[in-house]
């Protein structure tokens, strides 16, 4: 009897302490940032997410979660109605008065940087890992990521020894119509450079181009990101809406590469290394697959 009481007490004690350790970590998460949501999923925390913003499109299963709207236009009561313990987002998240209302309601609000560089990513992953109780996975994920980007750099350097960097333009459009061209100081420009391309556009931000200036730049490779369509349909729409594009070198040589537009927002996400490889394979066809 006494023994069994002790065993029972011990079991209860263990259970309670285990429960207490788990309870310290937030269990109900709301994420307002595409890349952050992806990382939470990649670190095994997808089941803890109870709401995401409109930029969280990957993995596909996140679309089934309640949407809290656009990350800069959050609603305090809407988010509180999901009874979250933690809200994560980038410095773009807002508006500030709403964030302070959410904080006052006792929800932990954690801000992450969307800066596209490795030290930032390392910090973000460490922080996320701690909050998720998945520190080991976070360290491994970062190590893998670092290796992949390192390989990418080697791949590009090698390729550039034998082939010149191609002149590239990145077109961001909606069902092909009126594409905007990615210029300096954009995540798109950073992607093109990491993949070894030479961005022909010299303006800053995303701007529309006249057909004439597009043709006169005559890109060797076209990269297009379409917000409405994907695959062959997007490619067809692009050339149907902009027939003059067919006269560029890129179109004649069939060097038109598709890019997922969700990669262009919210900092470094887990799908980035694969996309970079795809881009540089397209930029340097001779060394593809090596």
């Amino acid at each position: 009897m006494r023994l069994s009481t002790r065993v029972a007490a011990l079991c209860v004690g263990l259970l309670v302490s285990h429960y207490a350790a788990a309870a310290e970590l937030p269990q109900r998460w709301v994420s307002a940032g595409g890349a952050l949501s992806e990382w939470v999923s990649a670190l095994g925390g997808e089941s803890k997410l109870v709401g995401v913003d409109t930029t969280s499109q990957h993995p596909e299963s996140l679309k089934a979660l309640p949407s809290i709207g656009y990350q800069r236009q959050l609603s305090a009561e809407g988010i509180l109605s999901l009874r979250p313990q933690i809200l994560i987002g980038t410095e773009e998240m807002g508006p500030p008065p709403v964030l302070s209302q959410i904080r006052n309601a006792g929800v932990q609000v954690e801000l992450f940087s969307a800066q596209p560089d490795l030290p930032t990513l390392q910090g973000n992953l460490q922080h996320l890992g701690k909050l998720l109780g998945a520190e080991e996975q976070a360290v491994q994920a970062y190590r893998r990521y670092q290796e992949q980007l390192e390989q990418q750099k080697i791949r590009v350097t090698k390729a550039q020894l034998t082939q010149p960097s191609p002149g590239v333009l990145l077109l961001l459009g909606h069902a092909g119509g009126k594409p905007l061209i990615a210029g300096k100081d954009t995540a798109a420009d950073w992607l093109l450079r990491q993949a070894g391309g030479h961005n022909l556009a010299t303006h800053t931000g995303f701007k529309p181009f006249s057909v004439e200036s597009l043709i006169s730049l005559d890109p060797e490779v076209l990269v297009f990101a379409d917000r409405a369509l994907t695959g062959e349909a997007a490619r067809a729409a692009l050339f149907k809406e902009n027939p003059m594009l067919s006269s560029t070198h890129a179109a004649k040589d069939g060097r038109v590469i598709e890019l997922d537009p969700t990669l262009l927002v919210g900092g470094l996400g887990p799908r980035l290394p694969d996309s970079l490889k795809k881009l540089s394979d397209g930029f340097f066809p001779g060394s593809a697959g090596k």
């Binding site: 656009y70 800069r72 009561e77 809407g78 309601a105």
Partner: protein
């Protein structure tokens, strides 16, 4: 125009409607609170000694989120509707709205400068940052309206027709400047600008509320005193002059009150269309064109309409939120068409 409702019945009805709107605005939201908790929290906020057991969440949501939002809705809706009456009276045209004297486009220009060029004002003190947008929108509205008023004046007289045309020209000019800022904007600021143009009562806080409450209370107390003068103006400018009304002074007051009121409302909640146009019409349809009824009744009706629109905005897509301008225009535009068709018939 026939009078469908007696003034006394109208005021009782509108007061009840407004009270209902306030109650619903405090009681409903994406977080579902038991009705009794909301009531207790509201009473506690009003200073009644009720035990706070388990009311922390209700008190926080009602006191910090819904109450400032309700007050903002009341002030913005009331002052927009009132300015609508003032403009329709000034231009003696039921299709006039506060945007005609350039206050909306001026505010939009101010907002675009603040949103897109905000980072360029690097030297501003930290504490001023959050208010930059509101201040710029307010000053933009006031500035463009002052210019429109100045352009309409000649030899000490204000020509309403010239003012109207000057308003259209400056609205177009401000629109093109906003377009230029849109072109210069990056992705993030562009979206902020778009959402600002659709208005929202989201994120209301007491700190931002006080200036608007003061201005709208001032306008709401001042304009109804000029009801008789506005009635006289309906007959025509010279007729009003013969009746002993200081027409020039009246015009100045109407433009000034509109610029101040709409400027403050837009600075606090962004652009919210159609309230200023539709509400005076609704009241006129019900109670006739007498400004002694029209002015105070429009305040109540405007405030109620905006609170109901905000309920739709916060509940329709919960936990996300619709910009309120979408909701008011969705109600307002079909109503405007209905009025046009009725006039033709």
């Amino acid at each position: 125009m026939t009078i469908l409702v007696k003034p006394r019945a109208l005021f009782i009805g509108l007061s009840l409607l407004c009270a209902l709107a306030i109650w619903l605005s405090l009681a409903l939201g994406p977080v579902s609170l038991p009705l009794l908790d909301t009531l207790h929290a509201a009473l506690r906020l009003a200073g009644l000694p009720i035990a706070p057991d388990g009311l922390e969440q209700a008190e926080l949501i009602v006191g910090q989120i819904r109450l400032p939002r309700t007050l903002l809705g009341l002030a913005v809706g009331g002052v927009l509707a009132l300015s609508g009456v003032a403009m329709q009276g000034l231009f003696r045209n039921p299709l006039a709205d506060p945007g005609l004297v350039g206050v909306s486009s001026g505010a939009a220009l101010g907002a675009a400068i603040a949103i897109v060029g905000g980072s360029a004002f690097g030297g501003l003190p930290e504490s001023f940052g959050p208010y930059l947008l509101s201040v710029c929108a307010f000053l933009g509205g006031l500035g463009v309206t002052a210019l429109v008023y100045r352009l309409g004046r000649r030899n000490g007289q204000t020509n309403v027709a010239t003012m109207l045309l000057a308003g259209i020209a400056l609205t177009a000019l401000a629109g093109s400047a906003v377009g230029l800022f849109t072109y210069l904007a990056d992705d993030a600021t562009l979206r902020t600008l778009t959402f600002w143009n659709l208005g929202s009562l989201n994120g209301a806080s007491y700190a931002r509320l006080w200036p608007l409450l003061l201005v709208s209370a001032g306008v709401a107390l001042w304009l109804p005193r000029r009801a008789k003068a506005l009635n006289a103006l309906l007959l025509g400018e010279s007729e009003a002059g013969h009746l002993g009304i200081d027409v020039e002074g009246l015009k100045r007051e109407l433009v000034f009150c509109t610029a101040l009121g709409v400027g403050a409302a837009v600075a606090a909640a962004g652009m919210i269309g159609f309230v200023g146009l539709v509400v005076p019409h609704l009241v006129r349809l019900l109670a006739g064109p007498d400004h002694r009824v029209l002015l105070p009744a429009s305040v109540l009706a405007g405030a109620s309409l905006l609170l109901f629109a905000d309920l739709v905005a916060r509940l329709a897509l919960a936990p996300a939120e619709l910009p309120i301008g979408i909701v008011t225009a969705f109600i307002g535009a079909p109503f405007f068409l209905f009025l046009l068709l009725r006039r033709r018939a």
